[in-house]
Subunit: 212 residues, 2 copies
DNA sequence: TCTATTTTGTAATGATCGATATGGAAATTG
DNA sequence: CAATTTCCATATCGATCATTACAAAATAGA
């Protein structure tokens, strides 16, 4: 994957010339925050170079193009924040606990989380793709589709174990949870507090079992 | 308000010069659909003039500027589609019927409705304001806030009439309904069908009373 | 018909967009 | 040391952005 594994063999494939003066990962994090807060179209190269602390040639040398940088920022976003939202979901012992944890942890992350990142979900609120960038639009649409698949898998497993009755409409219930979590992103963007979103999450699972 | 009432006296205040060649209301409707589908930033004047079938000078003569046109499009959107979503909500006799109607009618409108307008809600999915247009951002934020106020008023009235217990957390329940409806916009934008969203709506109110 | 008034289409404005070319300074390897 | 490679700043590219001169065209009242 990588050209060199610096922790094991940083001598062999070390390039010849002047080393890169900026921290690529830190620059990518800055770009991610900017895309996250402003969206793809509204974020200009000038905005990016200023936030990343580098010049335009360095940006293009390191990331290729604006859409490639966005794609990488999206992967960085998922790699960095995915476990904060889905970690307890995966280790929960019941579907109800999993969904509860998913919504509660979403409430925390969407409103700022541990660091003070932008509000809302970068994937959920992204409107890229509606303006011509079809490939980027497909990326975020697929990322949004993963949510539904995970919820359906969780609920299907709960049906298999008997936690939920066999008559459960797995797809419909997953769609409802997906809608609630997506809606929480919009409320967070408009300034809803973490407490408010946690109340939404708890209220959403309070009716657990009513519609199965 | 108007300079002339054309239905009663269309002879007196007829302007002097060359008459406008295009239908202003139809042009505004076209602009609204474009802003609705693509958002403010991604919609260019060239896009607008092409969709409206007019030249740029005509657009500026009739609407002033791009942000003024967007503001007018937003008012047109609300005036045209508001009653499709909130009509049965207002005339319902119980809060439960009102919320059910609100979510079911939202499902219909968000997925295309009677005409085949863009998917999702123009107000909910709008990201304008995060890129410098503060006044437009305030407009859409206020429009989103109206949803919460109406839901809270409905639930408060239901508490007063005894339909809901006095211990009801009106604000929290309104937030949940708001989140569900907002999330339905995002699902609709990604292609969820009307049937799917109606199922979400029905499932959302199936647990009615569990969290009060 | 004549003139005043308003809209029209064409084309141009300056600004900014994403993306590159240039070029000298800096840093690492051999 | 020399060679190499990347750095950054600046300047520039064509394209597109929102906006507007400009003059022809079309209608009203005279």
């Amino acid at each position: 994957m990588q050209k060199s594994d610096s922790t094991l063999d940083n001598r062999a494939a070390r390039p010849r010339g002047r080393p890169r003066a900026f921290d690529r990962a830190r620059a990518l994090a800055a770009a991610t925050r900017l895309f996250w807060a402003k969206g793809y179209e509204a974020t200009s190269i000038a905005d990016l170079t200023e936030a990343m602390g580098i010049g335009a040639p360095s940006l293009y040398a390191a990331f290729g193009a604006k859409d490639a940088l966005y794609a990488e920022a999206l992967r960085y976003y998922e790699a960095t924040y995915e476990h904060l939202v889905w970690g307890r979901f995966r280790t929960a012992s019941t579907a109800r606990d999993a969904v509860t944890a998913y919504l509660l942890d979403s409430a925390a992350v969407l409103t700022g989380g541990p660091d003070d990142h932008p509000l809302g979900c970068m994937v959920t609120l992204s409107a890229v793709g509606s303006e011509g960038h079809a490939e980027l639009g497909e990326m975020v649409r697929k990322a949004r589709a993963v949510t539904l698949q995970r919820l359906e898998a969780c609920l299907s497993a709960a049906v298999a174990t008997g936690e939920l009755p066999a008559s459960t409409d797995v797809h419909g219930q997953a769609r409802l949870i997906q809608a609630i979590q997506a809606g929480m992103s919009i409320l967070a963007r408009d300034g809803a507090s973490r407490d408010e979103l946690e109340a939404v999450a708890r209220r959403a699972v309070a009716g657990w079992g009513a519609g199965f």
